[in-house]
């Protein structure tokens, strides 16, 4: 069983992940670079799908891929022939799926593939203070915990007959929220106490058993992001990427 090497290796470095998390929404949802950066709105979704598949998260990957393809086909097939309300609705759906979905997929990848320890080390390398890093690192722990709690609470509600259509259906949201909040608060409190007895507040320089060196895939992805920003900056100065290529 012993591999001699503890600590799962992530395919990419935490810093690269952070960079992607900032860059994707900026270009896909924020529309940086406009027409000039259009090529990146095709590349970035592929990057997030690729990362999901390489980390063996097939469920999210396949659902994402199918949704993406479906919307692109629908958009190209229907957009020219439609007008009015249908056109606007299609436009909104297509906008959400092509813009928001890749960003959501990237977040899923980052949260499922990063350990708290990797994240803390990455943030320290970027000189971000502990006061920001530590609370954020709990997120990796928090989502799966809340999911577990919600699951247990849903069972309890079902068993006690709080379901849609019943006499008690009015309270369906309230009843769910109270125990979820209470349990999460309690767990958060106990978690902080446990982490403190394990030296979380130590002022010493933190070490890390994970390998967080930059590898070739990190450099390629960072270069990709850099290119995107470059295209944007150049476009601000009136140099348009599209025209440069044509020349």
């Amino acid at each position: 069983m012993l591999k001699g090497d503890y600590g799962k290796k992530s395919f990419i470095n935490p810093i690269t992940k952070l960079m992607l998390l900032v860059t994707l929404p900026a270009f896909l949802m924020g529309g940086l670079g406009g027409k000039d950066a259009e090529i990146f709105t095709l590349i970035f979704p592929l990057v997030s799908l690729f990362l999901l598949f390489i980390s063996k998260n097939f469920k999210a990957g396949i659902i994402g891929l199918l949704a993406y393809i479906a919307v692109i086909i629908a958009w190209s097939a229907l957009s020219s022939g439609s007008d009015g309300v249908l056109h606007i609705m299609l436009f909104i759906v297509a906008g959400i799926v092509t813009g928001l979905l890749p960003c959501a997929l990237m977040s899923i990848y980052v949260i499922s593939s990063t350990t708290a320890s990797e994240f803390i080390t990455g943030m320290k390398k970027l000189f971000i203070p502990d006061a920001i890093t530590i609370p954020m690192s709990v997120i990796f722990r928090f989502f799966p915990t809340v999911k577990e709690e919600v699951h247990a609470i849903n069972k309890a509600m079902k068993m006690r007959g709080v379901r849609f259509g019943g006499r008690k259906s009015a309270g369906i949201l309230e009843y769910r929220l109270i125990p979820v909040l209470m349990c999460s608060l309690k767990i958060g409190d106990e978690l902080s106490a446990a982490a403190l007895t394990r030296g979380l507040d130590s002022p010493r320089k933190r070490t890390n058993v994970c390998d967080t060196r930059f590898r070739i895939q990190d450099i390629l992805l960072l270069l990709l992001c850099l290119c995107a920003y470059l295209v944007w900056v150049l476009s601000l100065f009136g140099i348009h990427f599209g025209e440069v290529v044509k020349l």
Partner: protein
């Protein structure tokens, strides 16, 4: 050496309703000297202040929990209060009660490395320490796993291992077995025995005595925030279980729950027959569970109607899932359950079974105790609700928020809801985990009351004392039969 001189502590009232409900846990006038290398057990009823005492030693008081502190706590001649927590962390390791809330990381290996990483130890040293710990604790099979896929027993092992990697001189255990079944508790015992053999100082706060009893050097008995008795090894050996129960303590010699002799059903019993019950989680996104891949695969289990039946298992696997299937919560369970010669379908079971879960926090939703019982009644009726609350001794709390009750009170409230639901079958998942002798007795009495109301009570439990006290039938459960 640990010294407490005239120590008193009161939690700040703003530190929530919770502390007041947990009967405070404040301490007064504690004088205690614990020698290096001894194994001390702190015990006493819930809320007697034993957890508070541990928090004083590991520095969580006053650094994390605030309140009024008097006196001083010294470790090896140095006061704990003045030192930052991270310095205490090097010397003292703490294992907590709740397996769900003591891991900062999502995977086991990172968790083991966490303490050493925080203290800035060289990665190579950390890796070799992890390797060493994994081998001496026999947990190589648990490395590199997601915390969320471990059983409670496995989580507690990882918690022990994560402090062992730091090689602490002093080990504090805060009810580490509260959520564990018999099998997992005995495995925990082996890890603790390793520490005791190596001459570390171990201080455990526990209700369950049997798994530690023969290793203990000393028992400190507390009540109401004071030390009331201090037994050394010789005095301990003279105590019988009878003496212990007079002191309000759990038995020191519990047999394994599977070894208790009770009939499963007798010929006079009316019964519910589980001809077969199979359940498997979906394996992956594409693969569905196949035959032979079941987590639960039971045939011909009989439960007596109108009796209190204990369900015990040598190994805790799948017990909770079994209860979920039995009361119809698992849509994917394949079952064939017969009652009065007719099949008992999942939909019907959902309306005839009530389950009191192990963590009652999950099933109390509303904002007052009375409301909680009211929504459980088939038709709202305040008089009826009050009568039920009276039977579980909670009428005086009827306006309270359920989350502001103590653990034992929440349990009683959940039982009140079960009564109010007017369902015939009431299932319990480990109702006595983490309860002291007095509360355990209370729950046993309530079980008998439920039976006298004509309910069929089925209890999944690993608590031998509780089984001997109130159960009339016992089924040994194996997730695959």
């Amino acid at each position: 050496m640990i010294e407490l001189n005239n120590v008193g502590f009161t939690y700040l009232s703003e530190n929530s309703d919770e502390s007041s409900a947990e009967l405070n846990g404040s301490l007064s006038n504690i004088n205690l000297i614990i020698e290096k290398g001894s194994f001390v057990l702190l015990t006493g009823p819930s809320g007697c202040g034993k957890s508070t005492l541990l928090r004083l030693i590991n520095g969580l008081i006053p650094h994390y929990y605030s309140g009024k502190l008097e006196g001083e706590v010294m470790i090896d001649g140095e006061p704990v209060n003045d030192k930052p927590l991270c310095e205490s962390a090097e010397k003292i390791g703490t294992v907590f009660q709740n397996p769900r809330s003591q891991f900062f990381n999502v995977d086991t290996t990172s968790e083991l490395a966490f303490l050493s990483e925080n203290l800035g130890i060289e990665p190579e040293t950390i890796k070799s320490r992890i390797k060493q710990t994994a081998e001496s604790f026999g947990i190589n099979n648990l490395m590199n796993r997601s915390i969320f896929h471990l059983s409670d027993g496995e989580k507690q092992k990882i918690a022990c291992a994560s402090i062992e990697v730091g090689k602490p001189e002093i080990i504090l255990l805060d009810e580490p077995s509260a959520n564990l079944d018999y099998h997992a508790t005995m495995q925990l015992r082996q890890l603790i025995a390793q520490w005791v053999r190596q001459g570390r100082t171990v201080i455990a706060a526990e209700h369950r005595l049997f798994y530690l009893w023969d290793m203990i050097d000393r028992v400190v008995l507390m009540n109401d925030g004071k030390i009331i008795k201090d037994y050394n090894k010789n005095e301990l050996n003279k105590l019988s279980d009878n003496d212990l129960s007079k002191l309000g303590l759990r038995s020191a010699h519990s047999p394994a729950p599977t070894e208790i002799e009770l009939p499963a059903v007798t010929t006079d019993d009316k019964m519910l027959t589980i001809k077969s019950l199979q359940f498997g989680y979906k394996q992956g996104f594409f693969t569905r569970s196949k035959a032979g891949n079941y987590i639960i695969d039971i045939h011909n289990m009989k439960l007596a109607l109108g009796k209190i039946t204990a369900i015990t298992a040598a190994n805790g696997e799948g017990k909770t899932t079994f209860l979920n299937c039995l009361c119809g919560l698992e849509r994917r369970s394949k079952d064939d359950i017969i009652i009065d010669g007719a099949p008992f379908k999942r939909r019907n079971r959902l309306n005839s079974f009530f389950m009191v879960m192990q963590d009652t926090n999950h099933q109390l939703f509303t904002d007052s105790v009375l409301e909680e019982v009211m929504i459980s009644l088939p038709e709202p009726n305040e008089d009826k609700a009050l009568k039920i609350l009276e039977s579980v001794d909670l009428v005086c709390y009827k306006e309270r928020h359920p989350m502001a009750l103590s653990g034992g009170q929440k349990q009683r409230l959940a039982i009140a809801c079960a009564v109010a639901s007017e369902r015939d079958y009431i299932l319990f998942d480990e109702p006595t985990s983490g309860l002291d002798y007095g509360h355990m007795k209370e729950i046993a009495t309530l079980m008998r009351q439920l039976r006298d109301l004509g309910k069929t009570v089925v209890i999944v439990t690993h608590d031998s004392e509780f089984i001997e006290d109130c159960c009339e039938r016992k089924v040994n459960f194996a997730s695959r039969s």
